[in-house]
Symmetry: D2
Subunit: 93 residues, 4 copies
């Protein structure tokens, strides 16, 4: 069971769009398009991935972490530690 | 002429790798892989795009902005304004 | 009860250090110090505040959110929603 | 001469406000205020410092880097390298 189970179609749609954005950026570079226009698209793709990450994290907290916390014990602690590490990676990336 | 001309092959290689990373993330979601493992890959892809952006920006400053500044006048001002806007978008994304 | 209760002294120490860093940056500007040196200190103060935020968030998840999840019900949902919003603000700032 | 010379009063005003924000956060922690409310203020202070950084960087590019580029030579190269490093620190912080 994954936390994002109820959200899978939306996630896949967003990821395919982000993949298309990155492919589009490569095409812009191949076509020697203007640096600033390429950069604008890189910022947009980065923001799209950030939205995917926040959605995954929210589903994870709402399902996996909440359920583990309801059970308590070392599994709950491990889930919380993992979630905090993932948040730190996101904030610092 | 683009600022990244001398760096095009490296940029394209990085962008194709980032595209592959995003496609790999979609596959992980299709296969119901663990949220935290998916998130780790999203952070890695975001960092890869950030490196592309910093490389594009550096080439742009070193070539387009530096040359426009050497000429001076309204074109230089416009290039600087554009570069500052792109930096703000990056820092805030 | 706050999530950071067991961590208060460390948080206060970090916040006072961050306050001193920001005051030091103002002094650098008053003394007309070199832009890049001022910027380096602004990045350091930003990173210090980010560390404070990650510490607060981790304490909040480990205590407030975990306890509310153990109880379940609408309070748990509200805590999770709040935490997700705070994470989104952090990732986007 | 600093790039931010024409902007010093505004910078100092922003820095003093940011210093007050950080001091206010310490007071909130002393008073055991709710984690999420403290976090909201930390995000606000971080954004304030980010705005200071973007303003410093823009002044630096518009003055120091533009003038050095107009002169050319190794000083221009050094200024561009420094600016790119400062941008990378900002984007990654």
């Amino acid at each position: 069971m994954t936390g994002y189970m109820g959200n899978k179609d939306d996630l896949l749609k967003r990821l395919r769009r982000a993949e298309g954005q990155v492919r589009g950026i490569a095409r812009m570079v191949e076509d020697d398009q203007y640096c600033i226009d390429v950069l604008t698209q890189v910022s947009a793709a980065t923001k799209a991935l950030e939205t995917v990450a926040l959605s995954l994290l929210s589903d994870h907290l709402n399902h996996c972490v909440a359920e583990a916390s309801a059970e308590g014990g070392p599994v709950a602690e491990e889930k919380l530690r993992e979630a905090n590490d993932a948040i730190a990676r996101l904030v610092r990336s």
